[in-house]
Symmetry: C2
DNA sequence: CGTCAGTTTGAAGCGAATCAAGAACAGTGG
DNA sequence: CCACTGTTCTTGATTCGCTTCAAACTGACG
C-alpha cells in the first residue's frame, strides 16, 4: 500500500473538476484547501443509510463507493458507482435525501466538503467555475442513473458489461486516473453483478466472452481496452 | 370523450400539490392562474428530444407522458411516466437537459408553467409552499428513477409489474384520480413492456397471472386492486 | 363490413439463474 | 516459510424465466 500526501490525493479532484469547467486560481486554491479533513473507511462501511438527509457531501480521494438498495430477501442493486474524483452524497436541492445506502465498495478515503458545496451554492457568482462544476457533477450523476435503467431494462449481459466498462473508462479519463488504455478495477465480480443485475457466475462468463472477443484484456486487476471501437460495437 | 373546463382540468394539479405541501391562498391563486395556456397533443407526439435544455416545464392535465430512450436497433426503454397532476420537464438545476425524449403515450393536455417554475425558484421565500412542492416533485421524480433501476435490475416479471401497479396506484391516490380501489390504465401492453423491460407477450402473461392470483382485477381499461396487502406481498 | 391496433394463445429456443464443487489467491498465525 | 482459512474466481450441469415467432382473436372505427 502506497502512502500519499494530502496534495497528491486531492489532485484527482482538481483534475476531474478541471475537465468539467475552467477554474480560477482562487477557486483552485479554495478547493485544495477544502480537501483537508479526510476520513478513511473500511470496505463495506456504510457512510449513510437510505433516506438520510444529504448533509455531508464528500469527494472520493481513493477507493470506490456505491449507492445500494437491498430487497427484503437480500437481493441487492447498486444504483451508482463513485470513483476517485467523484462527488458523493451531494444534491443542490435543499432537504434532499439519500436515494440509497452509501457504501464503501473498497477501502476508501474521502474528503468532507460540506462548506465548499455550500459556498459553490450561495456564492455562485463569486465562484462561477466551482458552481458550474457542482452542477455538472450533479447532472452526470443523474445521467448515470438513466444509463442504469436502460442497461438493466433493455440490454443483454454482454452489452451491459461493455456499456459499463466504457462508462468507467471515460470517467477515469476525465479524472486523470486512466492508465494506458485501461484502469484499475477493484470491484469483485459479485459487486459487478449487483451493479448490472446479473448473477456472479454470469458476470464471470460474460467477462470471459469479452476477453475472447478481444474487447477486454485484464492484467491483474487492471482492465484494458485494446480497441475502443470494438467495445462500442458490442455495447448497444 | 368528455369536455372539461380549464378549471376542472387544473384541479388535478392543485390536488396533487396540496397532497405534497400546504399552499397559501395566494399560491393557490397563482397556480390556478398559471394553468391557462394549455396545449393538446396526439399520442406519440414528441414534446422534446433527448438533451434538449429543460426550458419548458409543464403540468400534465390529462393523458400520460413518458421519457424514452431508444437504442440503435430500436429497443426502447421508458425511464419515467408522467400522470395527470405531474410536473414534466422541470429541473431546478440551471442548464439541465432532457435525460430522454419526452413522448405523449396517450392523447395529452399540458399547461406550460415556465413562469410559475421560475417564480417558485427565485421568490422561494415569498411562495414557500410552492417552492416546497416543486422540490418534492423533483425529488419524487428522482426516486422513481431509482425504483426503475431496482425493478429492472433485480426483480422478476411479476414483482416488476406489481411494484409498478402499486406505485401508480399511490400516485393516483395523491393526485386525487383514484377511482374506487383502482385507476384508469391507458397504456398498451407494449408500452408497459418498454417501461418494465419485458416483451409485450410476457407483459400479457404476467398480467393474467396477477389476475389469476387475485392481485389485479380489470374492468375495461380500469385496473383495480382488490387487496393492497396481497399486492405488496407479490411485489418484492 | 373490412381494416387496423391491440390482445391473446401456443410452441420452440435461448439467455441467464441456480446449484454444486473445485481452483486460485490473499491474508493469518504457527 | 509453510499449513490453514476464507474469499474470490472458475467450470460444468441443470433448470427456469423470458423472448421470439407465428397466428388467431377481439374490439373500435371509418
Amino acid at each position: 500500500m502506497s502512502t500519499l500526501t494530502s496534495a497528491q490525493r486531492g489532485a484527482v479532484v482538481l483534475r476531474h473538476l478541471q475537465a468539467l469547467t475552467t477554474l480560477s486560481a482562487a477557486e483552485t486554491e479554495l478547493i485544495s484547501g477544502s480537501l483537508g479533513r479526510t476520513v478513511s473507511h473500511e470496505t463495506n462501511h456504510e457512510l449513510m443509510a437510505v433516506d438520510t438527509p444529504l448533509e455531508h457531501p464528500r469527494f472520493v480521494l481513493s477507493g470506490w463507493l456505491g449507492t445500494v438498495r437491498t430487497l427484503r430477501d437480500g437481493r441487492r442493486q447498486i444504483l451508482d458507482l463513485y470513483l476517485p474524483g467523484d462527488l458523493v452524497g451531494y444534491s443542490s436541492r435543499p432537504g434532499a435525501r439519500a436515494k440509497g445506502s452509501f457504501l464503501c465498495l473498497t477501502h476508501a478515503v474521502c474528503a468532507e466538503v460540506g462548506d465548499l458545496a455550500a459556498r459553490a451554492h450561495t456564492h455562485a457568482a463569486q465562484f462561477p467555475g466551482l458552481a458550474a462544476a457542482f452542477r455538472t457533477l450533479e447532472d452526470e450523476a443523474e445521467q448515470r442513473l438513466v444509463a442504469q435503467i436502460v442497461r438493466n431494462g433493455r440490454m443483454m449481459a454482454q452489452e451491459r458489461m461493455a456499456d459499463l466498462i466504457w462508462s468507467l473508462y471515460q470517467r477515469h479519463e476525465m479524472a486523470g486516473t486512466r492508465i494506458g488504455q485501461g484502469f484499475v478495477m477493484p470491484l469483485t465480480q459479485e459487486t459487478l453483478g449487483d451493479t448490472l443485475g446479473l448473477s456472479t457466475v454470469h458476470v464471470n462468463r460474460t467477462l470471459q466472452q469479452l476477453k475472447r472477443e478481444q474487447v477486454l484484456r485484464t492484467v491483474g486487476n487492471r482492465w484494458e481496452i485494446p480497441d475502443p471501437a470494438r467495445l462500442a460495437s458490442v455495447s448497444a
